[in-house]
Symmetry: C2
């Protein structure tokens, strides 16, 4: 390795100090807090991995640090000393401190408190600073680990990564709720999902996945909707039926949870949460049976409902926990009337889809299923819905030229983390959320 | 593993047949070609990994297959026989063939020929089929491997993956050439790069990377521009200077090339190309020295040129190959006048940037460098350029609250593959290109 990599490779992080007891080190990071006591002061330095306690006896040095705003960037050279009473069991003694970059003013809220004492809109307005809070940062360390686990699991199953266009020429996938764009004077739209493209790519690589943004112009202002989010998409050919897709999804969820356990263990510890166990086979229930159970238990008449309400989903989540000891439950066989045209039908109950939702702790996390794969089935279904197959010519080209039985799923990354950490609002687990009122930062 | 995974895990691929000599297998894939000879016919079956030769003596079976359009999806059960004269050294004998999904019509061009015999616009119009051609597919197998190598190298250096928003509230990064959007009745824009967000996230994770789409509304129609492409972005804190960034980039390029060698070896073999060697230290030249060399060699007066022309880049590529045996060369120290406001200045020559371009085989592949990190420097530079720091308030919040010296780079994925395979047009190495005239498929 060339020596110019040294600033990265030689770095000592706060979470590695135990290995350096008795040695001099140089730490770099942010002035998280200065605690001034009568005899001694403690500087808490934060870097990307955690915090370290720096003991200062020198009154002049304390004054110099006290004159700095929190979040100033510092270099701290000192000796590592084992101290059972210090956080992490070590602290830095006899520090030499250099100011690398001075903060201009105090942060809008204290980042050193266990939680940020501010309302969510204030926190989101100040995201560039708020995201430095260890608890908020932990959410996004878990996101990064989840993406790695998603990809790793699918790579082991020989899926190929793709990146498909986000600017599309027609708004046909679901008609409403698309963002319109001026594309050199012509209308264009932002992709609501990579659905059409990932299916087309099954004809090329058979098994594909994509991690990328999706855009929904839904004018909802709820705690569980945002207008741009990260979708973890997979699509695979030569499946037997939707059970193949459910099995792959089960492995993917297991891989995502395992990756968090391995790569974001300190985030889990900080947040005090435990990962869900993913059963070898996740319990599943047919939509009609789910409705019947809910009606029997609650008296609610669901006989004309084509979908599950959030309350229904919560009930099923509790049922799965109680009856199967599982945080996860599949609901299969939603009515075709609420499913998109590319959905394959259950061959035994053609009014119901060969598809599923995966509920995680009582909330829909994933939608997936088998798709139509024969050209004529697409023509028939699109026509039956009163639309014109010519509007879908580019997409249908793949089916005119031979496609295998296939299916797939899409996981919402922010919702996955939101359920894991029990966030009250999905904006908490979104780096820079976009909603009907918010376009910045 | 649950048995419902079996359709994926038990699959035998065409590139695994050597292991199964003497055994019965079931292959699944597309009817790539039927070659009818007097005594025998050969069905070439294509799957995601390659092709297999199926020998048919049964005249009735040959007629059945001949009645199918190419690209029909088939299951082929038969015995694997070693046959030195067959492509790949094995072939399938005594096949039973089932039609899984019949193609409606012949492909718009023959996919079994060594190259597609059609003009680029026709190929792009038919991308859902054209991408199935083994040579075109090979480009995107190399893309997938490159993304994996990019991430793996940076993960080893403890970078954290981020996903930043693509809908942004202001068009301030470079003003011109942004796509405008109707965001619930308000103006919004598509992100030209994750630049501001990745810098802000250095304050959170210190080292971050992102793989995602970027959008440039440049009204150019050239062989090297597209309006949406995949950017491989990295940003890192606590660097010494731009040399740290150059060293990380060198490791990343090495990792990307190595990943192609490991994961897309068959694509390389099919295309008949060799990977570039990435030197331990890539040679570098200052912008002014590069100009002086070009002027000395060609007589071209470059004294008032603030940038390198494509012809200049090609000259430097040839120079690096000749003088240093390298396909790569860094050009450092471009004039500040052509660099964005967040660019750090070379402390020894303040009219020039502490930044670089990386040329690969005579074409700019990467731009990077050190950024400003002090709040006042941003205020001064934005003001000096006649703009108002208030327009950048969200972004500048990070710098008001302490940021370390940092820098980063952005690699264009399609251009990287385009140079590797010596594509005449970047659209060839883009899955579904978007340009001033093209919005579909």
């Amino acid at each position: 390795m060339p020596s110019s990599l040294a600033p990265l490779t030689d770095r000592v992080w706060t979470d590695q100090l135990e290995r350096h007891v008795g040695e001099p080190v140089e730490l770099k990071g942010w002035l998280h807090r200065l605690r001034r006591l009568a005899e001694v002061s403690f500087l808490i330095l934060r870097d990307a991995r955690g915090t370290a306690q720096v003991v200062i006896h020198d009154a002049a040095l304390v004054e110099r640090i006290a004159a700095l705003q929190n979040e100033s960037v510092l270099s701290v050279r000192g000796g590592v000393v084992a101290e059972p009473q210090a956080p992490g069991g070590v602290e830095i003694h006899e520090p030499e401190i250099t100011v690398i970059s001075e903060a201009q003013e105090a942060p809008p809220f204290d980042l050193y408190r266990p939680v940020i004492r501010a309302q969510l809109p204030t926190i989101l307005d100040s995201a560039p600073v708020a995201l430095r809070h260890p608890r908020r940062r932990a959410y996004f360390a878990m996101q990064a680990a989840s993406m790695a686990g998603f990809r790793q699991t699918l790579r082991q199953l020989r899926f190929t990564e793709i990146q498909t266009p986000k600017i599309v020429g027609s708004a046909t996938e679901s008609g409403a709720n698309v963002f319109a764009l001026d594309y050199f004077g012509r209308p264009a739209y932002l992709a609501q999902s990579p659905q059409f493209y990932k299916q087309v790519m099954v004809g090329v690589f058979e098994r594909v996945y994509e991690v990328g943004p999706v855009f929904r112009a839904e004018p909802h202002d709820t705690a569980r909707h945002i207008n741009e989010y990260v979708s973890l998409d997979a699509e695979m050919g030569f499946i037997e039926n939707e059970r193949t897709v459910m099995a792959v999804l089960t492995e993917v969820i297991r891989g995502m949870a395992a990756a968090i356990g391995e790569e974001a263990a300190s985030a889990l510890a900080l947040l005090g949460i435990t990962l869900p166990e993913v059963p070898g086979v996740i319990p599943d229930v047919h939509f009609l049976d789910a409705q019947a159970m809910i009606t029997a238990a609650t008296g609610e008449d669901l006989s004309h409902e084509p979908d599950l309400s959030p309350a229904n989903e919560r009930w099923l989540g509790e049922w799965a926990r109680r009856e199967h000891g599982s945080d996860f439950v599949f609901v299969r066989g939603f009515p075709m009337s609420k499913r998109p045209f590319y959905t394959a039908r259950d061959p035994e109950r053609p009014d119901f889809a060969a598809g599923f939702d995966l509920l995680f702790r009582g909330m829909e996390l994933v939608t997936g299923g088998q798709r139509l794969h024969r050209y004529q089935d697409y023509v028939d279904e699109i026509t039956r819905r009163g639309d014109d197959p010519a509007n879908y010519a580019d997409y249908l080209m793949a089916f005119r030229h031979g496609m295998p039985p296939h299916g797939g799923f899409a996981i919402g990354l922010e919702r996955w983390i939101g359920q894991l950490v029990d966030a009250a609002n999905i904006r908490e687990t979104t780096l820079f959320p976009r909603d009907i009122n918010r376009l910045s930062p």
